[in-house]
């Protein structure tokens, strides 16, 4: 009887282990440093001044600390909800329609040559 009482309960063990792992994961995920910020900026095509970088690292770390609580919720077997409507619509008619002319207001502001949009040279091999 005594033996039974002191015997560790396997489920509790697993639960504790999962919790520790969850915490490590949490810690890893909420670490946002300058290096990660620079990667993110480059993926977003943004440049930040050193002052902005410093502030952004602080802000984003705070945000991550806030959202990281999401990892504590067990979601096994839950189907992600991506769209609030279940079924999308198809365009039934494969008929070209003349859409509204797009460049009526923009033509003077955006650089074009002979109807082409122009951007700085993209270096290609």
């Amino acid at each position: 009887m005594l033996l039974l009482l002191i015997r560790p309960r396997p489920f509790a063990y697993i639960a504790r282990f999962v919790k520790v792992r969850e915490q490590i994961k949490l810690f890893l995920q909420s670490t946002l440093n300058l290096k990660i910020l620079n990667e993110l900026s480059s993926q977003c095509a943004l440049v930040l001044s050193p002052a902005e970088q410093e502030k952004m690292v602080a802000d984003l770390s705070l945000i991550l600390a806030f959202v990281d609580q999401i990892h504590t919720v067990p979601t096994e077997g839950v189907v992600p909800l991506i769209h609030p409507v279940n079924v999308g619509n198809l365009r039934e008619a494969d008929e070209p329609e003349t859409t509204e002319p797009y460049n009526i207001y923009e033509s003077e502001k955006i650089e074009t040559v002979e109807g082409f949009y122009v951007v700085p040279k993209v270096i290609e091999p």
Partner: protein, 493 residues
């Protein structure tokens, strides 16, 4: 192709992009037909990613994708969903491409390749998915800037990805060629390589012969014609073989084939293990695909080239390579069958179609004004050659006339005075005249100079303006040669 190195073998997989020939674009109502060469004129607000615009999937494009999947007998997804592939590039208007990464519309399947030696090879297709084409960046129009044309943006693309089951550049070309034949057959795509309607990239590596390693290290781009595909792969395999035999390793990278230099070049654009941040497109909820929808498409499929090929061999006794060539194009195969139905001469029909008709086709301006002659015309032509009304040479001439016009064959034969002259007296007369005109050549003819024999036959034919029955001409000339021989031997005696 020369052996790369005896102990290495190539591992090649293809990624083939097929522009679907829908009337409007994949997600917008803008025209998908390039009726204008003016830049940015067939790009709508959606294609140009104007703020607030949204994509809606074109049903036709979905049907065409399923049609392809049904043709290669692959499983069709039960829902059609799209993901965003995020990256910045000037000709990518939204900053992401709508594509299918984790749920392709068509799953794994097999494409049976027919090889020249008559073998068939199973090439595994890993997936086929729908995505939108980007615009075009043009780098050489202005010296200091890149210009952009978004007419192509939003064109529906079917991307067909094969497993690296191809072992030689020749096999790779055969695969591209036969995939092209299939998509034209299914009426999915114009197949115009010169217009970029089909484009090809390859994943390529070398492995120790017999190894089971299917990993590929180099993605090779710009292989958009049979020639580029073959040359590009040949160059790349040799490059890799040289590296490996010198004890070097082949770097994982994307390279581009440069047709001018004949080399493959490392793409300077950094690929940096590209983080595309795929995620389901929130603008496009999944569209369920019912079994009934799929079976309706399946039942509307035409007979496929492979099955037709086997049937032609079995039913008409054609050689497999003849059957293969006949079934490269649907119009050709259909013309064959219809013709045979009318004239019951399969071998002749195959010869005419693959020989003269294909030759005429090749001389046509592109695109041709007319694709072929009718089965009725061809069958009658074959009959008239067979029954001796016209010579096969006349038949060839007649075929060209028929291509241009839509006349009745018998009428043409009559009005153009084309019918073969089988009047033996008339033929005798022409032969006699030719011999009389060339008496000095007779001794050499009798000694058996082959060329002179052909010259005499040709001269008689010329006299008849091509209409003498060549069979009769031969008979008549040989008779007269015998006579000459006899005459001369009596003289000698």
């Amino acid at each position: 192709m020369k052996e790369v190195a005896p102990n290495w073998e190539a591992v090649i997989g293809l990624e083939v992009h097929v522009q679907l020939n829908t009337r409007s674009k994949l997600f917008s109502r803008a025209s998908n037909k390039r009726t204008t060469t003016l830049p940015n004129q067939s790009a709508g607000l959606v294609d140009l990613a104007y703020p607030g615009t949204l994509p809606v999937l074109n049903r036709s494009a979905l049907e065409l994708a399923i049609r392809f999947g049904a043709a290669i007998n692959s499983p069709i997804a039960r829902v059609c969903s799209f993901e965003r592939k995020n990256y910045f590039y000037p000709d990518l208007p939204k900053g992401y491409q709508i594509s299918q990464n984790s749920q392709p519309i068509v799953g794994a399947g097999v494409f049976h390749l027919w090889l020249e030696d008559g073998r068939s090879k199973a090439v595994r297709i890993s997936q086929v998915h729908l995505e939108e084409d980007a615009g075009k960046s043009i780098h050489d129009r202005l010296s200091n800037a890149t210009v952009l044309d978004f007419n192509r943006a939003g064109t529906p693309l079917l991307e067909i990805v094969t497993e690296p089951d191809l072992r030689t550049p020749t096999e790779a070309v055969a695969c591209f060629r036969q995939l092209r034949a299939l998509v034209i057959w299914l009426d999915l795509c114009s197949g115009r390589l010169d217009e970029g309607a089909m484009r090809c990239d390859a994943n390529v590596s070398l492995r120790t012969r017999g190894s089971k390693d299917y990993s590929t290290s180099v993605e090779l781009k710009n292989l958009n014609s049979y020639k580029f595909l073959e040359k590009g792969l040949q160059y790349e395999l040799e490059r890799q073989a040289t590296l490996l035999s010198n004890g070097n390793t082949v770097e994982r990278e994307t390279r581009s084939y440069n047709p001018a230099s004949g080399r493959t070049e490392s793409m300077r654009r950094k690929e940096k293990s590209e983080e595309y941040r795929f995620f389901p497109d929130p603008d496009l909820p999944p569209i369920p695909i019912s079994e009934e929808f799929i079976s309706r498409i399946r039942s509307s499929l035409p007979e496929l080239p492979a099955s037709m090929r086997d049937r032609f061999v079995e039913k008409y006794g054609l050689a497999p390579d003849i059957a293969y060539r006949l079934t490269l194009e649907r119009s050709r195969a259909e013309l064959f069958e219809a013709t045979v139905k009318l004239c019951a001469a399969p071998h002749e029909a195959a010869n005419w179609i693959l020989g003269e008709l294909t030759a005429i086709q090749k001389t046509q301006p592109s695109p041709p004004r007319k694709t072929s002659v009718s089965a009725k015309q061809l069958a009658l032509l074959i009959t008239r050659v067979k029954d001796g009304t016209i010579s096969s040479n006349t038949g060839k001439e007649l075929l060209r006339t028929l291509w241009e016009t839509n006349l009745d064959i018998d009428e043409v034969i009559k009005t153009e005075d084309m019918s073969q002259i089988s009047d033996s007296d008339q033929v005798e007369l022409w032969t006699k005249t030719v011999i009389d005109e060339n008496l000095e050549l007779i001794p050499r003819l009798l000694k058996g100079e082959e060329k002179l024999y052909e010259f005499f036959i040709g001269s008689v034919m010329k006299k008849s303006r091509g209409k003498a029955n060549p069979h009769l001409v031969r008979q008549s000339l040989e008779r007269r040669m015998l006579k000459q021989c006899k005459d001369r031997s009596t003289e000698d005696d």
